[in-house]
Symmetry: C2
Subunit: 483 residues, 2 copies
């Protein structure tokens, strides 16, 4: 455990955009193999649509306009799967994505726009085509790479239908052979991949299922190597539950904060919750009222050091969950409330591509649809709202670095204050279907209250002594600066 926990400053100021590379944008500059699915067809388990990294380059200005400061990419390395979690070659960007040259162009273009790039590091398992595993398939027990994986019996039954693999595999899925990370050569291989791409110019790693490499010293060394290559690199783990073990400053900077995700769906979508499971093995969500929601948020904020909390990767959904709007049965008002919530909370908000224009989709593969670039298909109101909320976050340091204080939590009314230095911001939500008057007692007096974000003309914020009185439209969020 480090004496002082340090997480990258830039993350605290970032708004992330998560891109599933096969589905965001396709450039005419990347030649594609022939057998692609139509962009607008429902996504399938095995089909490719042909998105690529130059397509991202060509839409960077869209992200700039939205206020995005960082991209988290789902895996981009050569892989025989549309999600690319089955890595075939860790040193090669997938040719369908444009290869290493496309990543070079993307990094240069993104950095020129002050956008950071975080890649998905899939280090627990490789794939059946990965060289050292393929070696075992081809050469059996005589392969020099015998100790790169954990083999129970030869010959390997990797492609035998319905067979439980006779080698270590993630969730016993034969397509995902697990590395033997007890082998020093395997550790070195992974560390070298990690630092190679950091040196190439990426700004951090999102670590896929890192708890499966159940070895704190592995991740400590991983952190040392990566931070040595770039002291500003961000390391964020995919851990769906409480993660103290990894967040003491010596392993990760953050985790994907699905705790907040679940709470936000259950509160903002309380009336419209679908019966879909929220992902990560969790059961169907139950509605939360404001009191329980605020308690859960306070519990969450107390889990880790504040330095960690302000660098958390917050998110409403991802490639691993139904989209938020689908989790709430199409209730766009819930999405807007939740979007404002994550954009005003400690930790880096993350927008899953397409959420901002209303792209819907249930569990994988549905949540990985092609990004619509025909604006006729966009929810323009939603897009404008998200864009405005992002701007508010960037405008007020208190929203990024300020302390958090619940100020109101009752049924459908919820408000919290963020404070840094002399700057104070109140964020309030009326989740009811009717207008509400929120009376929020202030702990410290204020002379001035100014509404900086509301929803519709019926909203106002005024001081009545040491009470902030907000007239809130139905299902609306409000941001008020206190002077």
């Amino acid at each position: 455990m480090s004496a002082t926990i340090q997480t990258p400053d830039w993350v605290k100021d970032a708004v992330f955009y998560q891109i599933f590379p096969d589905r965001f944008a396709s450039s005419a500059r990347v030649e594609k193999p022939s057998n692609l699915e139509p962009w607008t067809a429902p996504p399938t388990v095995y089909g490719f649509k042909g998105g690529d990294l130059l397509g991202v380059v060509e839409h960077l200005d869209y992200l700039v306009d939205l206020g995005i400061k960082a991209i988290y990419f789902n895996p981009i390395f050569q892989s025989a799967s549309n999600h690319r979690y089955h890595t075939h070659d860790y040193y090669r960007v997938d040719p369908i994505l444009g290869g290493n040259e496309a990543l070079r162009e993307l990094l240069d273009a993104a950095h020129a726009r002050q956008i950071r790039v975080v890649l998905d590091g899939v280090f627990n398992h490789a794939s059946r085509g990965f060289f050292q595993f393929n070696h075992l398939l081809e050469c059996g027990a005589q392969s020099p790479y015998l100790d790169w994986f954990t083999v129970k019996r030869f010959p390997l039954n990797a492609y035998e239908p319905n067979a439980k693999p006779n080698y270590g595999a993630w969730w016993n899925l034969p397509a995902l052979p697990e590395f033997n990370t007890a082998n020093p050569q395997v550790r070195e291989f992974i560390f070298n991949v990690a630092t190679y791409w950091i040196a190439f110019g990426i700004d951090g790693w999102r670590l896929d299922v890192p708890y499966e490499i159940d070895d704190d010293e592995f991740w400590r060394e991983f952190r040392r190597r990566v931070r040595n290559a770039n002291p500003d690199a961000y390391i964020v783990g995919e851990i769906w539950h409480e993660s103290e073990r990894w967040l003491r400053g010596d392993q990760f900077d953050a985790v994907m904060n699905y705790i907040q995700t679940r709470a936000a769906i259950a509160f903002f979508g309380a009336e419209t919750l679908s019966s879909l499971k929220p992902g990560g093995g969790y059961d169907v969500l139950q509605p939360l009222a404001a009191g329980d929601f605020a308690a859960e948020i306070e519990r969450m904020l107390a889990l880790y050091d504040w330095e960690i909390t302000t660098a958390q990767m917050n998110l409403l959904d991802s490639h691993d969950t139904p989209r938020f709007v689908t989790m709430v049965n199409g209730d766009t008002s819930a999405l807007k409330l939740a979007m404002l919530f994550q954009l005003t909370m400690p930790g880096a908000p993350t927008i899953y591509y397409g959420d901002e224009v209303g792209l819907a989709g249930g569990h994988d593969p549905e949540c990985r649809g092609g990004m619509p670039w025909d604006q006729a298909q966009w929810d323009m109101d939603l897009h404008a709202y998200v864009r405005a909320a992002v701007q508010v976050r960037h405008a007020y340091p208190a929203l990024r670095r300020g302390s958090y204080h619940t100020r109101l939590a009752a049924e459908t009314s919820y408000a919290f204050e963020r404070i840094v230095g002399g700057d104070r911001i109140m964020v309030a939500f009326n989740t009811a279907q009717t207008p509400a008057t929120l009376r929020i007692p202030l702990e410290q007096s204020a002379r001035d209250a100014r509404l900086v974000l509301g929803d519709g003309g019926s909203v106002s914020a005024n001081l009545e002594g040491d009470t902030l009185v907000i007239q809130a439209a139905p299902r609306s969020g409000v941001v008020v600066t206190l002077g």
Copy 2:
């Protein structure tokens, strides 16, 4: 067909050395995975011994001392097979060989010693782990790479034991899926690989089973691309039989001249022939007497344009055949005679690594043993003889570029003259177990005959009018300059 046939001049002056990379030399500078076979153990079908390219670098001066001017390497790209004909990645030198950096060092070190480097191009088939084929295994009919191979049915049965593959595969071997070279993207892929490594610095391609890509225009375009990248690049096909189709100047510069190989084994090893087949699908060899041998050599020399003939890749054996010494049941005298023969014939002689020190071995995998570096295991007399014969070839341009004329061919006596400009050289063989007097009538008078290579002190060469009289030791070859 080109109006003028042009083959690289350097090939006509080269003596090649063929290296099977896993078996020639291992450097301490290349870190290896753990499970290697002992260097001196009999080679196996699947095991690796851990030879590498830096090991070659560290033994280049051995090759310089032997008089070698070019190396033909069996495949060096990443492959899950010890022979590396199952290519996994055409753009990556195998990590066990030291990776691309090792090839860089090797090329620089070899070129500094005026040694050229020819690689093995395996373009008919890839492997089951090759990315685009693995894609079909993983994604089935939805893979974008559907048309990179020829699939009869999905799912592919690539790893089903004893199944005939339901996709195009070389010799129906499931490990060797054949490219669909009718696909322009596949053609472009192969051409780009070819020119990438030429630009990297290699001096040519030996083409594995090129007749399987039954498409003259494919190879014409291959030649145009490669020669455009390096006008001096050598293109030599692995074709075991008569090859007029490919040797008209528009496709290959040469083929591996197994026609000469077979004749040399049958003549020089007439008395000691083993019952092994000589490879390439040919039946057991029958002994040849000098008359039939000379007729076969003359037939062979008339097959192609002289520009091709002087650039042929001549060889006594290879990774695909039993070693010569094993084909003649250990009769080293036959090996010495045949070695002198190829070193005095038109076309580039090739020494398969280890032949020069007496390394033996039958059919694959036996012919791929570890090179002995303990000189106590060498046949020092053989090594000195080969070295001397190589020096003679380098000393006399007539041996490299001179015309060929049979001057004697009867039973165990055989002689031919090589002439270029005013330089004349007679090469004579007594393959009998007893001393012989060879009386060779000269077509043109000579004033002087000088013995430049013989075997033992009992040898002499003298002119008697227009007859060259050679007293030849049993089973010996003689090289005489005529002035």
